[in-house]
């Protein structure tokens, strides 16, 4: 089997809940516009902090071209856990995509870009949305 498997969750992403069928629509559109074969999505357990399904998908990367997550913020919050996932993709020469951000992990240099966004996100996330203060 080759193609890209989608990855969706039922937990909020950056504070917002996105229905799973909407996440799948975004992933499907991302794949279509890039002529990537979209395989059905895996759905993460709703258990807080769980990455069990994602890990399972990563373990069977050999059977895929890569994985398309709805958002990069569905990756684990722990930097070390994210790093392990990045390394597995790069080690197997597979690609990881983030549909809503239109970003992807293709080469080692992409890690710094992704981690810069993660670092600022974690630093800033407890600051309320400015719209609520206007």
């Amino acid at each position: 089997m080759s193609g890209f498997q989608g990855y969706v969750t039922s937990r909020p992403v950056q504070g917002f809940r996105v229905p799973q069928h909407v996440q799948n629509l975004v992933i499907r559109n991302y794949c279509e516009t890039r002529e990537m074969t979209f395989l059905l999505s895996g759905t993460e357990y709703a258990i807080p902090g769980s990455s069990l399904i994602l890990n399972q998908m990563v373990d069977r990367l050999d059977q895929l071209d890569g994985i398309v997550l709805y958002s990069m913020f569905q990756l684990p919050e722990q930097a070390g856990s994210r790093r392990k996932i990045y390394d597995q993709f790069l080690g197997k020469q597979k690609t990881m995509h983030f549909a809503v951000e239109s970003l992807s992990l293709n080469v080692c240099q992409d890690i710094e870009r992704l981690e810069d966004i993660w670092s600022v996100f974690l630093t800033m996330r407890d600051i309320p949305n400015i719209q609520d203060q206007l």
């Binding site: 950056q14 958002s71 990069m72 913020f73 722990q78 070390g80 856990s81 983030f98 809503v100 951000e101 239109s102 970003l103 870009r113 810069d116 966004i117 670092s119 600022v120 996100f121 974690l122 630093t123 800033m124 600051i127 309320p128 949305n129 400015i130 719209q131 203060q133 206007l134």
Partner: protein, 271 residues
């Protein structure tokens, strides 16, 4: 004696930005501007098969080659081609970098994709009704870098409501807004400033101020790019990190600060 931490040029630029709501300056890197302009012209030639060599003639006269009905798909293809170039966004940033560093800061977040507007003469389908980006969910800390690829004047340009008039509008918004954005424009139309700007200049404007465009009554097509910037550690609105913005100029001390963790009293095999 008062303490002054910024130089005269910085004060002058900041004052002008606050007083007028915008500044227009020559592009900071003419070579990169020409590179971007050439990219757009080359893309037009590939998509349309056009063979005109003078960029200004080709872009100003594109309405002779692209119909209103074809415009949006043509525009989206141009945007895709621009943003597909790995150098494009850093070159765009270079056009306004010194001005942004004086007005916004030197640790910046940049919009992930640069937009392109193409406004054909007499086209009523590409209008941006009067709006302030902050009314649509943008953070009031954002600023817009607007770069024309052709000379813009009169209705070929965009308009902006100056800060003093904006303040008055906001103070009386409930009474003056009417029932539609068109009524709002009619309310402010005598106070807006039409931006006159040449290719090779860059407009940096305060997106908290009402702005927009009208039907282009000139005989030339407008081509302009726009992209938002903000201080990376200023509050975000609905345009989030990752999906809309990304950090572009993080400094060493910030990287160290974000990565810092207190030493642990317990051993943690994960770290």
């Amino acid at each position: 004696m008062s303490q002054v931490f910024v130089n005269d040029a910085e004060i002058e630029l900041g004052d002008r930005y606050q007083e007028n709501g915008y500044v227009i300056v020559p592009v900071a890197n003419l070579g990169e501007f020409q590179r971007i302009q050439n990219l757009v012209v080359d893309s037009v030639e590939v998509v349309l098969g056009a063979g005109e060599t003078d960029p200004a003639s080709l872009l100003n006269g594109i309405h002779e080659k692209v119909s209103v009905g074809e415009l949006n798909s043509f525009r989206l293809e141009m945007i895709r081609r621009m943003n597909a170039e790995s150098w494009f966004r850093s070159s765009y940033f270079d056009l306004a970098r010194p001005t942004l560093e004086r007005i916004v800061g030197n640790e910046l977040a940049m919009q992930l994709r640069v937009n392109l507007s193409i406004q054909l003469p007499e086209d009523e389908g590409s209008l941006l009704p009067v709006h302030a980006d902050v009314w649509s969910g943008d953070s009031p800390f954002e600023t817009v870098v607007w770069v024309p690829l052709v000379d813009c004047f009169d209705t070929k340009a965009m308009y902006l409501l100056p800060p003093a008039a904006d303040k008055e509008l906001r103070n009386n918004f409930g009474q003056s807004v009417g029932g539609s954005s068109e009524e709002l424009f009619q309310q402010i139309k005598n106070e807006v400033v039409w931006i006159e700007i040449k290719a090779g200049e860059v407009l940096v404007f305060n997106q908290n101020l009402p702005h927009g465009n009208r039907v282009n009554k000139t005989s030339e097509t407008r081509w302009s790019m726009n992209c938002r910037f903000k201080g990376v550690f200023t509050p975000y609105g609905d345009k989030k990190l990752g999906e809309f913005f990304e950090p572009i100029t993080l400094k060493a001390a910030s990287r160290l600060g974000m990565a810092y963790q207190f030493p642990s009293l317990h051993s943690d095999p994960e770290e």
